[in-house]
């Protein structure tokens, strides 16, 4: 069911990772992604994977959750993997008709797969350990300087907050509407592409209508709670950079340096 999607989900907890400042986590995640794409050696990848495993251990998030979050990207991983496997020239290991697998191809396929998996697992970790509000909060504050350039930072953050808040509600609603239409004999499982697209109409229209109604009511409720944009707004949660942040940044810097160094090691 659609409910099983875990990407973007937050798990409450009190681990060191949960306690870190969202700004630190955001910056470190970006750093991790950059480094991931700079890596070009086996020890480097091992370090990158090792770091991830360590972080997941620290956050008390199990293997099962990671695997579930990876499920939707499996096709992507397979696709890039296969593409790399067949289309990179080099020493041929096996070939049949126009297909050939080269040693280099296999190597790149493995690397691309590892990169994508680490990328997803790494960014998922950010959302697993950071409440959506803290995340948008962190983002809003990181981008605060842009507000001076009349970039709508607060509005953007508020939109993100509300989107995240309503995703589960809309997923549930979609489920309900689908069940209701199926009860009226709607057939969503068989037929060609056009038939299937047509079968979505009875789902999408009620969903749109109800989303507009929700948006209306929410806007009203927000007004009643004195919402008037970002100006003069205070926040309950004060962000503090503490020891954890310092330690994490240090560890991250070391590991990143290590990964990059690995590129230059004679291996």
């Amino acid at each position: 069911m659609i409910r099983d999607i875990t990407i973007g989900q937050y798990f409450t907890g009190h681990s060191a990772l949960h306690r870190m400042d969202p700004r630190t986590k955001l910056v470190l995640t970006i750093a991790y992604i950059v480094v991931l794409f700079l890596t070009d050696s086996l020890p480097g990848y091992l370090l990158a994977i090792g770091l991830l495993v360590l972080c997941y251990k620290l956050a008390h998030i199990g293997l099962k959750v990671i695997l579930r979050s990876l499920k939707p990207v499996i096709p992507l991983v397979l696709f890039t993997g296969i593409l790399n496997m067949f289309f990179i020239s080099g020493d041929v290991l096996w070939h049949w008709w126009i297909f050939r697998i080269t040693q280099q191809g296999l190597y790149f396929a493995a690397i691309m797969s590892v990169r994508i998996i680490c990328l997803i697992a790494g960014t998922s970790l950010l959302t697993y350990t950071t409440s959506p509000i803290a995340l948008t909060d962190g983002l809003e504050r990181l981008l605060a300087p842009l507000a001076k350039l009349h970039f709508p930072v607060h509005e953007l953050a508020m939109m993100m907050t509300i989107t995240l808040r309503f995703i589960p509600t809309l997923v549930e609603e979609t489920d309900k509407i689908m069940s209701a239409q199926k009860s009226r004999g709607a057939d969503m499982e068989t037929g060609g592409l056009i038939k299937r697209v047509k079968a979505l109409v009875p789902i999408l229209i009620p969903l749109f209508v109800s989303s507009f109604r929700r948006a209306d009511e929410l806007a009203l409720a927000m007004e009643c709670r004195c919402y008037r944009g970002g100006e003069g707004r205070t926040r309950m949660r004060q962000l503090h950079m503490g020891g954890v942040d310092l330690a994490a940044t240090a560890v991250m810097a070391l590991i990143c340096a290590g990964i990059i160094l690995c590129n230059y090691l004679p291996l």
């Binding site: 929700r214 929410l218 009643c224 004195c226 205070t234 926040r235």
Partner: protein, 284 residues
């Protein structure tokens, strides 16, 4: 004497139809009302009688077409003071899902004081207090979408309490809840009124909820048709039924028996009232 917190004078309001050629629909036709501070007022009526339109005038979401609404002496037409008004009169709506802004319970409760620019330590204090008051303290770190309807509605009430309003208007807060959720919300409302001395305006079409108020206002077709204590309102069974409302079974039993010439008091509302009165009758 202290000025009433809510003063509504000859309030008239119409909705313009989206079709310009149609005449506007008159939702309120001259409503006058005064609510003293600390009162628990229930506004009763069927759908479309104007009760929600009236509610929306009490914190300036709608402004009168003619007539006047004064909240603590402030005219709701005064744009400069609109946020003062909204802070004095908090509003809770029917669908709990559509009034929760944040993903985590306590973050949502903090939304209003954050908008008001309250200092962080004070927000924290208010959030804790508000959650305590609605008995949701132990869910403060939970995701809002995992809560039941009744729990969500209590979070919504806490979100309003965090503004520290003097009056709270609830527009059919229990219409979408199961009986358990309804009971909890009613208990919460009573606490607000009796223990915190807050003025409560409860818009509802449930008689048993209205029965718990100090005063019941019955609306029909944009006008106030009854305004009295619950016992006296609910003894007017025929009139209530004529305007599409129903009467609690104990009141109806008493009414039917009275019509048959049985001598029973007029103020029977609850099962206990009814049992006591019937026992008294049978004892005689």
């Amino acid at each position: 004497m202290k000025e009433p917190i809510i003063q509504v004078k000859d309030l008239v309001f119409s909705y313009q139809s989206s079709d310009e050629s149609l005449p506007p629909h008159r939702a309120l036709r001259g409503v006058s009302l005064e609510v003293p501070e600390g009162q628990f007022l229930a506004v009763l009526g069927h759908n479309g009688c104007g009760k929600s339109t009236l509610a929306k005038h009490l914190n300036g979401i709608l402004v009168p077409e003619s007539g006047q609404v004064l909240i603590d002496g402030i005219d709701t037409r005064d744009d400069d003071r609109i946020f003062d008004i909204r802070q004095i009169v908090g509003m809770v709506f029917q669908n709990p899902d559509n009034q929760i802004v944040a993903t985590i319970v306590e973050e949502d409760v903090a939304f209003a004081p954050e908008n008001m620019g309250v200092p962080p330590a004070e927000i924290r204090r208010r959030v804790d207090w508000a959650l305590e008051t609605v008995n949701m303290q132990k869910y403060r770190q939970q995701a809002t979408y995992q809560l039941s309807g009744g729990q969500k509605q209590r979070v919504a009430i806490a979100g309003i309490l965090a503004m520290q309003p003097r009056c709270i208007v609830l527009d059919e807060p229990t219409a979408m809840l199961d009986p358990h959720g309804r009971r909890r919300i009613l208990a919460t409302i009573r606490t607000l009124n009796r223990e915190l001395g807050m003025t409560v305006v409860l818009i509802t079409h449930y008689m048993d909820e209205a029965a718990q108020a100090d005063r019941v206002l019955v609306m029909d077709d944009g006008a106030v048709v009854m305004d009295d204590i619950p016992q006296r309102v609910f003894s007017r069974v025929t009139e209530l039924q004529a305007i599409g409302l129903d009467v609690p079974q104990p009141s109806e039993l008493a009414f039917q028996l009275r019509r048959q010439g049985v001598e029973l008091p007029y103020d029977i509302l609850t099962v206990d009232d009814c049992v006591t009165a019937l026992a008294h009758l049978l004892e005689a």
